[in-house]
């Protein structure tokens, strides 16, 4: 998300720089002359307003005691000055579990899924043969283009009773295991699946940055007698650091976010019943009609996620002068 803000700001700046010239041009632009432009804009404005702004007003449910007859605005305010729903979250073990699971999965994702593409990118970069390099890259993108529905189906079949995992285990002479029925297997499966799906695609940004490094630097280092490892450590690493920082900031923002699709897809009624915030919202909100509390949970998640991004950005700005906005 950060990049787009940057792209936007840069182009805004460009606009501003040119404004003295364009002002003269636009002086002739009366409102009437611009009517075609507003007409072109109408469908987009209507769609964005209906689809994205109206649900924002719906957030008020989080502070209400929702009933169908009263609707969003007619329903009475919740108790405790409207904060009863938020208090309810902290009193309900199911919601607290979901919050805890969300944090835990995201911390693991930060520890494992985040560095994985950096390592893979550095290794791919060391490949000299262009054809092999391209092939590896293309293959690594495959999981990114598969839908989560397909991915979780494959995970289920791999780990299932007749699956590849047990076939391999049996071939090596180990007792077959039924991971789908073991609660403890859920978290590792989630993390591995996430790495599998995102690592290849994640290398793109890093490889693009590495390609942009001035090759004179490497040559100078080589003349100075630096070996390949030292070159990576002293040239490649510092060069990808700003990119890494920005991605890390974005990752911080998702520390409190949760991937609905992956968790819902992996959940099974036998043992993998863990919820994250997004699946809890779906389950208790849409499934059981607890609209107010689910909305409150979602709102809380959004506010915390935004604050986290903001804090991470501020820290990064102070420490390394890299920032998203």
């Amino acid at each position: 998300m950060s990049e787009l803000v940057n792209v936007k700001m840069e182009s805004e700046r460009k606009d501003n720089a040119q404004s003295p010239k364009s002002k003269k041009l636009s002086g002739k632009n009366s409102f009437k002359k611009n009517i075609p432009f507003y007409l072109i804009l109408v469908p987009a404005v209507i769609t964005v307003f209906m689809m994205q702004y109206l649900p924002m007003f719906g957030l008020v449910i989080a502070f209400k005691d929702y009933n169908v007859r009263g609707g969003i605005f007619g329903s009475p305010w919740a108790e405790m000055n409207g904060f009863a729903n938020f208090v309810h979250i902290f009193k309900t073990p199911a919601f607290l579990d979901a919050v805890w699971n969300t944090l835990w999965l995201n911390v693991l994702s930060l520890l494992f899924s985040f560095p994985a593409p950096i390592i893979l990118a550095l290794l791919i970069n060391e490949v000299g043969h262009t054809g092999f390099k391209r092939t590896v890259q293309t293959i690594s993108y495959l999981p990114h283009f598969l839908s989560i529905a397909a991915v979780t189906t494959m995970v289920n079949q791999l780990l299932g009773n007749y699956g590849l995992l047990n076939a391999v285990l049996q071939a090596v002479g180990i007792e077959p295991t039924f991971l789908l029925e073991k609660e403890s297997a859920f978290v590792p499966t989630y993390v591995i699946t996430e790495i599998w799906q995102t690592v290849g695609w994640g290398t793109i940004v890093y490889l693009a940055t590495i390609t942009g490094i001035n090759s004179d630097l490497y040559e100078a280092a080589e003349i100075d007698g630096a070996n390949r490892f030292q070159q990576v450590l002293n040239i490649t690493f510092p060069s990808i650091l700003p990119t890494t920082m920005i991605l890390l900031i974005m990752k911080m923002g998702t520390l409190f976010g949760s991937s609905f699709e992956m968790v819902y897809g992996l959940q099974n009624p036998v043992a993998w019943t863990k919820d994250v915030i997004a699946t809890a919202i779906y389950k208790y909100g849409i499934g059981q009609g607890e609209y107010e509390v689910s909305t409150a949970l979602g709102l809380m998640q959004g506010v915390i996620a935004f604050s986290l991004t903001f804090i991470a950005n501020t820290i990064s700005k102070k420490v390394s002068n890299v920032s998203m906005w």
């Binding site: 787009l4 072109i40 702004y53 079949q157 099974n268």
Partner: protein, 309 residues
């Protein structure tokens, strides 16, 4: 080119340590590539394997008892055919509508000195930071009669700020003089948009259409949230549904075993693993076969914004 030559030169004189590293690296990357493909190849093998034989376990990367029955079952299912049609309709109409909205905003914002331009920018930026969340969307969309309607696939999320910025950045590269001279010749804004800008921006139009198309094809959560009319199920949702059904069947068997009740007819139904594999292949094959050719359009999207100079 220069860089490549330089790189080659550097590789020219290889120390022993370097050679060992290259060998290990190549081996590791081969292993990685295999790991990326393995689950898919396994599913492919299962889909061509007799359902009964799959149940014995141990199918790896080649079918043991070759059969096309699984595909026959999936393709003869009228539900699958109908869902494929819905998926295609969704991809086509959803992508075109998204492109239309994003392109129109990008084009309008191109005009400097447009009164209320700042307001428009603000209007389309805010939803990036605040969203109503699932439940209020659920309530509002139901109020708008979008629940169980095909439009639920097209309207929400049709406008992406990110895509709009990318289109606009591209349009900014088109010389303004072209528009100005057309205006002097008396062309209206719609004519300029349709006859000049659109043909000149075909590369970005194709890119954005492709992004939207893949996103629409792969999405199933929106069906889960907002649709419970089987006539509107997409292929991906059917795939998720099949998985969830298999899981609850598994649970029933588990319960039956724990309580010691006879299984009865349950176990004859679970032979579906191969059929499910065939369904997975059918649902994903359009993407898997084409992505090596269109991936570069996606790669450029990733690098467009994020590589800072």
């Amino acid at each position: 080119m220069m860089e490549k030559i330089k790189k080659k030169k550097r590789v020219g004189k290889l120390s022993l340590a370097r050679k060992i590293f290259i060998a290990c690296n190549t081996a590791f990357l081969l292993l990685c590539s295999f790991a990326f493909l393995a689950p898919y190849i396994n599913i492919l093998a299962k889909s061509f394997n007799s359902a009964r034989d799959t149940m014995l376990g141990g199918v790896t990367f080649f079918p043991r008892v070759f059969t096309l029955d699984n595909y026959d079952i999936v393709l003869k299912d009228p539900n699958i055919g109908h869902s494929a049609l819905i998926s295609v309709l969704r991809v086509v109409s959803g992508s075109l509508f998204s492109l239309f909205l994003q392109y129109s905003v990008a084009y309008v914002l191109l005009r400097k000195g447009l009164p209320f331009r700042g307001v428009i920018v603000m209007f389309v930026t805010i939803p990036m930071f605040i969203s109503g969340g699932l439940i209020s969307e659920y309530i509002i969309y139901a109020k708008l009669n979008l629940y169980n309607s095909f439009f639920i696939y097209i309207l929400p999320m049709s406008f992406s700020f990110y895509n709009m910025v990318i289109i606009r950045t591209y349009l900014q590269g088109i010389p303004e003089s072209l528009m100005e001279s057309a205006r002097l010749d008396g062309a209206g804004e719609f004519t300029i948009l349709w006859r000049i800008m659109l043909p000149l921006s075909m590369p970005i139009v194709a890119t954005i259409l492709l992004w939207c198309a893949v996103a629409h094809w792969n999405d199933w959560a929106r069906t889960l949230y907002f649709v419970d009319n089987p006539d509107l199920y997409t292929l991906q949702y059917r795939l998720m549904l099949a998985q969830k059904e298999a899981e609850s069947l598994q649970e029933m068997i588990q319960n039956a075993m724990e309580t010691g009740r006879p299984l009865g007819t349950i176990d004859s139904d679970i032979s579906g693993e191969s059929v499910q594999a065939a369904q997975t292949i059918i649902t994903t094959i359009p993407i898997v076969l084409t992505y090596p050719f269109f991936q570069r359009y996606f790669v450029s999207g990733v690098t467009m914004g994020s590589v800072k100079e």
